[in-house]
Symmetry: C2
Subunit: 377 residues, 2 copies
């Protein structure tokens, strides 16, 4: 029996790599649904190839355009609601690779259906981790993280007793600006920030890697996914991105997951779990790599880590503010409206003036997210 996959965000960087992995295993997976934001040209090719029952296009006019272009065999749903509607209870895996907080409602719907979610989105867990984990327990859902760090920790922690975990060690490449001073960061360009040394990813996450906010969000994500408090999560700079993350146990033994820097590795794991599947990812040759290095992160220059620890420690809606302010700031930076270092200033400013709501509802989270975005427009 083929596993039925609904893939949200199929035209993005991760989405395309999910389809690569599925191409290697056409006997094991079939596509039930696809969604795109605006790129209907690529979506149309994907429809032709994978013949999904339904697709969704978030952009309404693009969605209507696609409808006119298709032969009618594939149902086209429109808008964010359309994206939620293609999550089908007959699916086995909902692969969520859309960027930003728009993933929140699809995650909630999938988890309520008790499905396996392959989660390649941080923002849903970062802003609504408590709610998602509660629903997961109630509905017996399953979240397999696709972020390479969390997928690594998931693999290192599977068989172990939670009480035996001493700390999680997230590795960070350091991004393109590792070693730079605050002064140097003030003048970096968008192009420089988009040159990630190891990973091929979307623009938003690439900028987040440059600010280290990506690692900050991962700290919050890891705390929720693995039930580990902020003071038991460490970050170490590891420029080669070969060790994808580690877990230290109470007996001082560390279990680590290693591999090449290829997102198709965690994607393959998340699709195949609990089994492992043969894939075409390059094999890691440690002799060829030669050496793995480790450095302490510079938290004074790359302030995102401290903001994340603080947001996690405060809790409530503070991580929502961190995330929303960051999303807007990164967008402004990409549009060349602010300097790189102003990303930090915007986040810090919004966090300072926020009075957090504790045990927030989904509505609270969405409202506060909207409010932060309004503050910054």
């Amino acid at each position: 029996m083929k596993k039925k996959v609904v893939l949200l965000g199929s035209t993005g960087s991760i989405g395309k790599q999910v389809l690569d992995v599925i191409d290697w295993n056409r006997d094991k997976y079939e596509i039930m649904g696809l969604s795109a934001n605006t790129n209907i040209e690529l979506l149309r090719q994907q429809i032709h190839k994978y013949r999904p029952e339904k697709v969704a296009v978030v952009d309404e006019s693009k969605g209507r355009k696609l409808k006119r272009l298709l032969d009618g065999k594939t149902e086209v749903l429109i808008g964010n609601e359309g994206m939620e509607d293609i999550i089908d209870e007959r699916a086995d895996i909902i692969f969520i690779s859309v960027v930003g907080i728009t993933a929140l409602k699809p995650v909630i719907k999938s988890i309520k259906l008790g499905k396996r979610i392959a989660l390649a989105n941080k923002e849903a867990i970062v802003t609504a981790g408590g709610i998602i984990k509660k629903l997961q327990r109630e509905h017996n859902g399953e979240i397999i993280p696709v972020d390479s760090e969390h997928c690594a920790i998931f693999q290192c922690i599977r068989q172990e007793k939670q009480g035996n975990v001493e700390r999680l060690i997230l590795t960070a490449s350091g991004g393109p600006f590792f070693g730079k001073t605050t002064k140097e960061l003030m003048t970096v360009s968008v192009e420089e920030a988009l040159k990630h040394p190891n990973w091929s990813m979307g623009k938003k996450i690439t900028i987040d890697s440059a600010t280290l906010m990506n690692k900050g969000l991962e700290i919050i994500e890891a705390s929720w996914l693995f039930g580990v408090p902020w003071n038991k999560i460490d970050v170490v700079i590891h420029p080669q991105s070969i060790i994808h993350s580690m877990v230290e146990y109470i007996d001082k033994s560390i279990i680590a997951q290693l591999g090449v820097s290829d997102m198709r590795l965690p994607i393959s794991f998340a699709l195949g779990y609990p089994d492992r599947k043969i894939n075409r990812v390059k094999r890691l040759d440690l002799v060829e790599v030669g050496k793995l290095e480790f450095f302490k992160p510079d938290r004074t220059t790359f302030k995102a880590l401290d903001y994340a620890y603080k947001a996690l420690q405060i809790g409530g809606t503070m991580p929502t503010v961190l995330n929303a302010a960051n999303e807007v700031a990164v967008d402004l930076f990409l549009k060349r409206k602010i300097k790189f270092t102003e990303i930090y200033e915007i986040i810090e400013g919004q966090m300072k003036r926020h009075v957090p709501v504790f045990n927030p509802s989904i509505e609270d989270i969405i409202n506060i997210d909207r409010q932060i975005r309004n503050n910054l427009l």
Copy 2:
């Protein structure tokens, strides 16, 4: 309930470290039996401290001397039979940290009792792996390897499907002579060979590390312990000895175990398994370590690896010959009777003239072991 431990080889390097770990957990473990080869002074102190029911001394005159020195509360057994006799069916863990093929009979007895064996001896598995694994299945015994490499693999492989294992990657420090040529090796001294860069171990195993025979024996050991054929076991030189070994899966994901170079880490694991216990081993700080390096082993100079692969491939009693010839050769080197490189010549010579017996009995193995020793005296 405290776990009852019988510790064979309590005055050796590993034995003393086992008692360190037990000292940290006196509420969890109690000593039922201890054995020593000749060092009755230290054994007497251990008897005073741990109050075992029985002890064994392999050396007969030393054993009789100890009997006279004790107050009679502790039974003293003598000779290799005495060492076997202290393996008690009321024990929970038989910790076998004696060196060489003398461990074989105690291992067989323990496994027949269906006990957990914490195994810090390679030679028994290397020479009689097939028999031991068969008995383990029949008697439902448990072998937790204490060799840091195999303990690492054991931790990395625990709940994975055997069919998903692509290869085992044993790490090797390279020993004190890493980078040397055959010509340079011809003149190295016993003192130089005993200077291991990372690990504090007994003399035999330290020389084995210098020749890389230690890694060779580990290849054979790993093959039996984990049911993986010779061509799926690789060796990589990793001078820092921080990654203790790795398992690559069919999806190109590698799981590794890391820690400081302290045998009390695998000892703590083997005693506590399946739980992990807090211990006083130093915490690994990767930033302090700075870098981990990896090199291809020089199999032309350090011929022990090829001998081991060959012995494993041929099978039958060939690994027994490899092991016996090596034990004698190392002893001769330590007694300054042969040059370092003659260790290789002796092993190669014995292997070349041996006609292996397949599916050997324990008697076959013991006879061939004796015969090789006689050849070399």
